[in-house]
Structures are given as C-alpha cells and as structure tokens.
Symmetry: C2
Subunit: 202 residues, 2 copies
C-alpha cells in the first residue's frame, strides 16, 4: 500500500505556519519547499476535506460568506499527534526516477552535440536556483533568528544548496569527459576519469 504523503505536507504546513487556506498552503509549498516537493490543487482540496472530516484539521470561521471565499484551516491536537508519529517513522526509500540520466545513458546514437546541450541546460537551471536559495536563506535568517524551527529549515536548505552545487560540478566534469572522448576516444576518457577520481579523498 502506498502511503499518501499529501496529508502530512498539509499538516506540516499548518503546524509551522499557523492557519492557512488551500491556496496559501500551495503557495507556501511552492515558495519554501518547492525545490523538493510539489502538490497540485487536484490533490490538495479533496485532502483538506478528508482531513477535516477526520478532525485532524478544523475550519476556521471566516467573515465573507460568498461561495468560493477563502477558507482557512487549523491543525488539531490529533492532527499534531498524527504528524509527529509520521515524522518519527523512518522515510521509505523513495523510488528515484531520473529521466535525464536515462537520456544521457542512451545518448550514443544522438551524439555529443545533443549531450552537451542537455548538460548545459542542467547547469543553467541550477544557476537559476542559486538565486532562489539565496532568497530563501535570507528570508529564514531575518524572519526567525530565534525560531525553534531554524535548525531544521537550515538543514533542509543546505541540502538544496549542496545538490545544486553538486550538479554544477558534475556538469563541468562531464563536459571534460566528453571533450576527452572527442579528442581521443574511450582511452582518453579513461585517463580523464582516473584523474578525476584520484583528486578525491578516499
């Protein structure tokens, strides 16, 4: 049985940010955890209803009473308990499916030009994220220097920064390997590879 994670993101968002509407939860997700989580409205709104039916969250009374007015929800004590229990459970190994690595692996037919283009697109995308991380970091730092959530948020942010830096480094390295291939075929690639690996400790 696959465990639905959407509900825990909702609970977590409400726990960290206080009462939020569906729309606000979605913006929170895309702004603060967007680089490692996404959630669509088609999943969000039905789940909010379910959580409310299970008394894990409670709708707040709102002023404007027209249809489709904003409806905020608050996490309940039992919701908090459920969230904590989930957090304490070890994370299931997520089935990673990195399409771009498949394309790379199958690139022989298409050749180096296509491969280079793909790699450079990745590096470019990562450079774009750099700014986003800097922004998120700034927001964290001046928003809550006393926040008890700060350590956790920073740890998560650092993961994003690490991944981004790693990807850029990997692209650089890969371009070198491709250059070696172009210059001297598989043999030259092997040399270049050994040099790369020897630079690393252990």
């Amino acid at each position: 049985m696959r465990e639905a994670t959407t509900r825990y993101v909702i609970l977590g968002a409400l726990e960290m940010e206080g009462p939020l509407s569906g729309y606000e939860i979605r913006t929170w997700i895309s702004q603060s955890v967007g680089y490692f989580w996404t959630e669509s409205f088609g999943q969000l709104y039905p789940e909010l209803k379910r959580l409310a039916a299970e008394k894990l969250i409670s709708p707040l009374p709102e002023k404007q009473a027209h249809a489709r007015a904003r409806q905020r929800y608050e996490i309940s004590p039992s919701g908090r308990r459920l969230l904590a229990a989930w957090v304490e459970q070890p994370a299931r190994p997520q089935p990673v499916r990195a399409e771009f690595l498949l394309k790379l692996l199958f690139s022989r037919q298409s050749g180096l030009v296509v491969t280079r283009r793909h790699l450079e697109a990745i590096a470019e995308a990562e450079r774009g994220k750099g700014a986003a991380f800097a922004g998120a970091r700034a927001a964290l730092l001046d928003e809550g220097p006393d926040s008890p959530d700060l350590v956790y948020a920073l740890v998560v942010l650092r993961y994003g920064q690490h991944i981004s830096a790693m990807r850029r480094a990997w692209v650089e390295e890969s371009l070198q390997l491709l250059a070696a291939h172009e210059a001297g075929g598989p043999a030259a690639v092997l040399n270049a590879f050994h040099e790369l690996v020897e630079e690393e400790p252990r």
Copy 2:
C-alpha cells in the same frame, strides 16, 4: 499528458545490451541503473506486448516452446528511431518528492534524537551504496574499454558517486548544526551555519 517512460527504458536496454527478455531487462535495470531507476513487472510485461504490437521491438524465435518460457525481444529500426527522438528531446523537469526532507523540516516536535537517527540512517545507506558504485565502475572498466557507450555510462556513474558523496557530507554538516543547536540554540546554529557557508568558494 504524462509521458510513459517505461517504453524508453526498455528500448534503451535492448539498444545497449542486445536482445533481452522481460526478466533480463528487469535485472539489467536493477543492476546497472537501479540507483536512479526502478521498474516493476506489472509495468514491464504489458509494455513489452504493446511495443511488439507497434513493431518497435520484435520477439525472437526461441527453442523451448512451453508456456511461460523465456521470450527475448530485439529492438527494431523504428524502435531505434523512436528512442533517438526521445533522447534528443530535453528531459522534462521531474517533480521531485523527497519525503525525508519533509520529515526533517517538520522535526521540531519529535526532537533531535529522532532527527539524528534519521540522518545517520541516510549516511549508513550511502556508505552501502559506495561499494555498489565501485562494483559498477569496475564492471564498466574491464567490460568495455573500447565501448562507444563508455563516456555516457561513466558520466551517469559519476552522478551517482557525486550524489552519494554529497549526501554523506551533508549528513556530517547537519549533525554539526544539530550539535550547535543543542549547545546554544538558534544563535549558535546561525554561527555554525555562517562558518559552513564561508568555507565555500563563491
């Protein structure tokens, strides 16, 4: 519309390894690209039938003729064309969903003990993968020093090694941040964080 990727993995496997059966494709996947791709039989066998019906792969005549005997398939010219076209298309941005980061972010209630346990489990898992990468690398190096696929395979392998190393480094760093939090609260965390970031170039 979501694009089914399973078919391209199958085509790629047949392209790289020659004729394979469903079972063999699955072992190939789990052994050589298992760290970034998974595929289940429930998806594999129906897709093989579809690909054969579309003449993108062709079943080889096999000797033993009992039911449920091994059936190998070969990629066809049109299959090869389809694969190449897919490879040349830029990879769609995959919706990453890293559950363990969510758990980390929502860890305040559960506390440092739980968080440490999670982090150490991640590091432990990565250390285990180290051996697998070494094996994959060795296989690559002595299997095909002249293989035209070598560059691509190495580039992909390096990604795995990079990720693994990055994760271990991140865990170490995170444990330091947690220690700082324990010793001096958010203020100490901020100091530790700034030290970490300053070490990095740019």
